[in-house]
Each structure stands twice: as C-alpha cells, then as structure tokens.
Amino acid sequence: MMNQVLNAIVVDDEMLARQYLQEMLKAHENVTVVAECKNGFEAVKAVAEHNPDLIFLDIQMPKLDGFEVLELIDRDDIAVVFATAYDQYALKAFDSHAVDYLLKPFSAERLAKAIEKVSANRGRPLPQLNEMKATDTKPEALTRIVVKDGSKIEMIPVTDVDYISAEDDYVDIHYAGKSILKHQTLAGLEKMLDADKFIRIHRSSIVNIERVDRIELLAKDKYIAILKDRTELRISRSGHKRLKEVIG
C-alpha cells in the first residue's frame, strides 16, 4: 500500500511555502509532485489536466480560496491535505476520511502522519464541503457561489441569486436572468447560505426572500411564491412554515 505512488499537486500562493513543502516531500518516495500552483485557478486547471490522487491546499489564496477550489474540482475521491498558517478554521480532523490539516510551519513528522492518513483512506469519499467548513470557529455565510462553466469560472454573488432549484444531482442557480447548473446537493448548498435570507420553501427549491413579491393560496394548504420576475415556485407545508417564520 505504501509503495503505491500518489500523484500530488501543491497549491499555495507563497513561493517560500511551496518550496518548503516540496523540500519536505523529497523524503517521501511514494509522493510525486506533478504540478505546483500559485492560485486557485491554476489548481482547478491542474486537477483537470493531471487527475492527481492528492492535493496540498492552502486555504487563503487570491481569486479562489481552498474550499472554493475543492468545490470546483468536484471530485470527492481525491485526498486533501489543507495547509494554513492559523487555525481560524478549527481544522477538525475527519477520521477515516482522506482529509487532514497541517498548521504552518509544520514538521516533517506531522507531514508524514498526514500522508499516512490520507493514503490509508485513499479513494473514500471526502466529507461534505459544508461539514468541512462548519469546523470554522466563526462560521460565516457564503457570500458568493463559484461554478465551473466549461473552462470558465463564474463567481456569483449570493445577492444576485433569485432562486435555486434541484435537478437530480445538480442545483440550478437562477440569477440575473440566467441560470447555471452546478454539481451539488440542494441540502448542502442550503447549509452554507445565510438562513435569514435564503429559505428552503420546497424539497426542490431555495428562494432569496428579497425576490419574493407575494405568496398566493391556490387551494387548501397549497401555496405558491410569486417572484418579482413573475416566476412561480411551489411552496410545501414545511416550507410555508419556514417562510412565515422569517417574513412573519
């Protein structure tokens, strides 16, 4: 098992941090660095190109942060070792997942432990993104949604979002008169959005309450939400209850 080579990419915006990690990795014959990336864009590209087994990922970076990179590469069989200078993210270690966290500067021993852990759990699905982010000591609601659209990366401010509907394994994000599909569960996205502004009104939809024009009663216990752009969305009974709690 240990002899199986892991193809890895190193993602950090600081040159010295990348060099330090590269130097430390020389001692690990089972890890081959196939690419070094200076930012999130490069990382997303490198993952598509090299299809690595392991990614060393800095959290705070220009353009895209580490979590956004993970969202965009959309692979849950990849092993991830986060590296960050300060545990503002409480950095909970997920047992029996191919995830670990390193606090910079880290020792050679700590790095060896991380590699051991992720290779032992290799191939197992990653924890949900919202679970990993929930380890944050000061969780903050999502301010933008990142979506990969072909080779382009869209960054949608949540304030632009009208509503989000579930389409099988995807969510369909409706914003600024357009819509875009993203591979994510509606429940997973719901947990990362500000619960005071985005309400799950139905099993299949989340609405930005600022876009709701009015709520109409169709039949007994059958409500629909009419948005400002005249879109009609079905409201379930529990959805109606949640909506009433926020709107009053």
């Binding site: 915006d13 600081e14 040159m15 010295l16 941090a17 060099q19 330090y20 130097e23 200076k38 930012n39 999130g40 705070q60 970076m61 220009p62 353009k63 895209l64 942060d65 956004e68 200078a85 300060y86 503002q88 606090l103 910079k104 500067p105 000061k138 903050e140 301010t143 933008r144 960054m155």
Partner: protein, 352 residues
C-alpha cells in the same frame, strides 16, 4: 473683590441679595418705618450682608462637611452667624442710638429684627454654599470617571494593537522554516527583522504617544518582513515630507492600516500590488494617506471594519474633534486618509 466677581456663582450670589434686600425693606416698612428709612436701612443692611454671605463660601470650604465632625461644624457656623449679624446690628444700634434716628423702643425692635434676619440670611447662604460645593464635587467626580473610561479604553486598544497578529507570526515563521535550508543568510535576516518588529511593538504598547517618524520606522520593518513572504507581489512607495515627522500620535495607530493593505490587497491579489504612503505637512497639521490596490473578485476575507473603526476611535481620543479620517473604496483601489491636527510647517521647521 474682582476675584469674587470673577466666579459666576459668586456674582449670582450678589444678585440674589437684591430681592432679599428689597424684602427686608418691605418688612421694615410694615414695622412702621417710613419708605425712605426702610430703603436706606435695608440697603445699608443688604450690601455688607451680601459680601458676608458671598464670603461664607470660604468658611464652607475650610470646614468641608465630609471631613469635619458635627461638634466642629455646628459651633463654628452658629458662632459665625452671631458674629457677622451681631457685628452689623451692634454698629447699627450704636450709630442710630447716638444720632437718635428713631424712638428707643422702635430701635430695639428693629435691631432685634435685623439681627434675626442677618442670622437667617447668613445661615441660608451657608447651606447654599454647601449645596454648590456638593454639586461641583459630584460633577467633577462624574467627569473624572468619564476620563478614566476614555483613558482605560485607549490603553485597552493600544494593548490590543500591540498583540501579535497570529497570521503574521505563523506565516513569517513558515517563511523562515523554508529559508533555513535554502538561504541561511536571508533566514537570519528575517529572524532579526521579526525580533526588531516585535520589540518595537512591545515598547510602543507601553507608550502613550510616539512620533510619526517612529511609527513609520515600525511600519517599514513590518513591510520588510512581508516583502520576504510576498516577494515581487508587493511594491512599497513612500512619499513622506520629513518636516512633520515629529508629530506625536498614538502608538500603532497606522501600522494596522498596513496589515489591512497586505491582507486585503497584496495577499488576496494575483498581480503586484502597490502600497503607497503619503505624508503631507500643512499649516495646522499633517495629512497621512495610505493607498493600496485590491482585486474586486478576491475571496471574501474577514474583518476590516473593526480595524478601521478602532483607528477612527483612537484618532478622535488623541487629537479631539479637529482630527478626521476618510476611507475611500473605488474599483481596484483602497485609500485611507487621516488628518492629524498639531504641528504645522512653521513650528516643525523651527523645531528641527
């Protein structure tokens, strides 16, 4: 006497004696004196009594209620009433008796009446003075409590600023860890820069003020450390008028603005970010400006507002209302400008 009037409360005291003197006049008229007699007598009574009453404040100050016992205060005050009022009435009795200004029985009655009035007035003014003193004390206690809160808050903020920013520390240590095997000389340089920076920060945390020049030297050390981390991603430009570097300001007022510029500008951008400092001396103070580039689509980072509002708060505490601060965020450029009143060009030139 001029000194007595200089105090507004004392002046009020003299004015208050005008209606009281008039009241004595009316009461004397009721007791059978002619209007002329009553007027002359009441003025002759009122003027010296008003001085006596006004100067009763010195007696009250000499015998503060809080620090004196009743056995000290009561006899002294009663004695003073009798001496003051008795002194005047004795003089009146003597003068009026020899000039036979009125019948003997009338004279006795008026004298007794004026003696009682004098006692009552003097006692009344003593009570009034004690009240004024108590009010003043309460007010100044409140004021010094307010000042203590402001000073305490400033000390708290200063201590907070002098604390090590953990992000900065651990990122710097990580750079050193990388440099040790690659470039030992630069690693050592970085260790020395960090030591100097933290030593100055600790020293600043204990001071009430530093000069603008000292603050900018600390900023320079900070930026040198960050330059090791960010390499050519960061460019520093400084245009400081040396004439006003002796301006005093609260320590670590400006350094956090540079931390913000690095955090939201340099570290969150793909391309090179310029941090530009301008110090401009004007007649009545100093304009300090820091400007940095940033990328609109950078991932959200936490906390700037607290840093900015703390700077504003400390600026106002230290310089008062004459100081000002403006924050301008345009696309791609973030600018903070501080105006600190104080040394102007002329003074600074003579000072140098």
């Amino acid at each position: 006497m001029e000194k007595l009037f200089r105090n507004k409360a004392t002046l009020g005291f003299f004015l208050a004696w005008i209606p009281l003197t008039a009241l004595v006049g009316v009461l004397l008229h009721i007791r059978g004196l002619s209007w002329t007699q009553a007027a002359v007598l009441s003025v002759a009574f009122g003027i010296p009594m008003s001085f006596a009453s006004a100067s009763a404040q010195y007696m009250c100050k000499a015998l503060p209620l809080r620090r004196s016992t009743l056995t000290q205060v009561v006899p002294a005050l009663v004695g003073a009433c009798i001496v003051i009022s008795g002194g005047w009435t004795a003089a009146f009795y003597g003068i009026c008796g020899t000039t036979e200004c009125m019948a003997a029985d009338k004279l006795a009655e008026v004298t007794l009446f004026l003696f009682m009035m004098g006692d009552a007035y003097f006692a009344f003014s003593l009570i009034l003075h004690y009240l004024i003193i108590a009010m003043d004390e309460a007010r100044s206690a409140e004021k010094s409590a307010d000042e203590a809160i402001v000073l305490g808050r400033e000390a708290e903020l200063r201590a907070l600023r002098a604390q090590v920013n953990p992000h900065f520390l651990f990122n710097s240590l990580n750079s050193i860890a990388a440099l040790v095997s690659m470039d030992a000389g630069r690693a050592r340089e970085m260790v020395l820069l960090l030591s100097e920076f933290f030593r100055s920060t600790l020293a600043f945390g204990k001071q009430k003020s530093v000069t603008l020049g000292e603050e900018l030297m600390l900023v320079d050390k900070y930026l040198k450390i960050e330059a090791v981390r960010f390499g050519d991603k960061m460019e520093v430009i400084q245009d400081a008028d040396k004439a006003c570097l002796s301006l005093k300001l609260p320590p670590l007022l400006l350094q956090p603005l540079y931390e913000n510029a690095v955090k939201h500008g340099v570290s969150a951008s793909l391309d090179t970010v310029v941090i530009k400092t301008t110090v401009e001396c004007v007649k009545n103070g100093v304009y300090f400006t820091i400007q940095n580039g940033f990328e609109d689509d950078a991932p959200p980072r936490r906390g700037t507002h607290l840093g900015i509002s703390t700077t504003r708060e400390r600026l106002k505490h230290f310089f008062g209302e004459g100081a000002s601060m403006s924050v301008k965020k345009e696309s791609g450029s973030f600018t903070v400008t501080l105006f600190m009143p104080g040394i102007g060009i002329e003074e600074s030139e003579t000072a140098l």
